[in-house]
Symmetry: C2
Subunit: 240 residues, 2 copies
């Protein structure tokens, strides 16, 4: 953070923005990733930059889904690693789920920079894209995955996903948990569970939920579309 | 545009995004400019990506204000030049107003790249920041302006402005016309006239309005805050 005091009303947003720009400098974030981050900033601003009840409900449902999965995998791109690398490593440990790099604008150098950044934050092995396993229903380079990771996963935690790949994963019968600040995006509408929240707030909450004992009483079925409706209402209404 | 067909539902948005990324490659757009563009994309999406009546009213009021100014100046940054360089040159000719480069994250190289880009699109002299004239009420490098440009201007057209400088210009008694997709921003709320629209749609409309004969009947006083209220209502309501 260059010269913005903690008292600045936009301090937290500016701190996060600097983390993303630092991600470009070290080669983990792409130019298109910066634009995507800006879109997220606008939606977060309209949400009042806080975690709403619909996000808490989605986080609880996500914790249950990921705990029950037999082979969960965490799919990461440059933006999430620039923002929450340490939390991703903790999540991988908590779930016993491998981290796998999978980015939209493919680049070997950026994939390696993302892996290095995760390992600096304590990750062990990080799975990388291979030519040995391909997803169906998708033409882009994102179809190349690791045979022991996304390819055979039954549940994938993939924050800040793109619509095409989310659809492909769902068509392959995999459960997809995403974090997306735009409840109207194709990803949000296609995922099994969408946490409409800033990944910087959602990841610590997900970790906390995973580490707490599960409540005894049965939970109601999670309804993703109802959750997205509530999120859109929050964006469309004024906050004080 | 790399590989997106014109039939793609997001074609126009993706075309504009590519123009901004091309701006980074040629050194006119900064990393923070990309994030700002992303924020704009989100607000534009919520506005239904069309020019609303409140924007048309603001454009008409802007045309009157800029025509009546005795020394109007057009202040440009990297994002506007990446998006609408040719329209800025036409506007400069239509108003007899100089173009002046003034950017948030100062860099001599980027200032020169912006000037070069304008001149490739037909601009004559482009005013550059100097140490000979300083704005009051502002600490950042943006206070350094050209003595024959922004410094002595009575009206400034400055699309995609930042809040601090907009406030400083207003405190110095200058009229400020801006284009900003976020009606809640400090710039929007401080400017004399805020055109809440995508600069890619607003500039051609402003040019067209300037080139049309002024209507005979007197116009009602323009109320910027009422206009911003209408824009926020449009963002907060659903579109079909």
């Amino acid at each position: 953070m260059t010269d913005v005091p903690k008292s600045h009303p936009r301090y937290e947003s500016l701190r996060i923005r600097d983390a993303i720009v630092a991600g470009v400098k070290r080669g983990v974030t792409s130019e298109h990733g910066l634009i995507a981050h800006g879109r997220g900033e606008a939606y977060d601003y309209l949400l009042g930059e806080r975690t709403h009840d619909f996000a808490v409900a989605a986080i609880e449902a996500s914790a249950r889904l990921l705990k029950q999965a037999s082979h969960p995998v965490i799919s990461v791109n440059g933006n999430v690693v620039a923002l929450v690398a340490a939390d991703l490593v903790r999540l991988s440990d908590a779930l016993g789920a491998p981290l796998e790099v999978n980015i939209f604008h493919s680049s070997d150098a950026r994939e390696r920079a993302i892996r290095d950044c995760l390992q600096e934050h304590g990750a062990g092995e990080v799975l990388m894209p291979t030519r040995d396993a391909e997803l169906d229903f998708i033409d882009s380079n994102r179809r190349f995955v690791h045979p022991e990771g996304i390819f055979r996963a039954d549940a994938i935690f993939v924050p800040l996903e793109d619509g095409d790949r989310c659809q492909a994963l769902r068509k392959m019968g995999k459960a997809v948990v995403t974090v997306d600040l735009n409840p109207m995006s194709r990803t949000s509408r296609t995922a099994s569970i969408t946490i409409v929240d800033n990944v910087v707030r959602a990841l610590p909450l997900l970790l906390q939920t995973l580490e707490s004992p599960a409540p005894d009483e049965p939970r109601p079925e999670f309804d993703n579309l109802a959750c997205l409706e509530a999120a859109e209402r929050a964006i469309r209404s004024r906050h004080d």
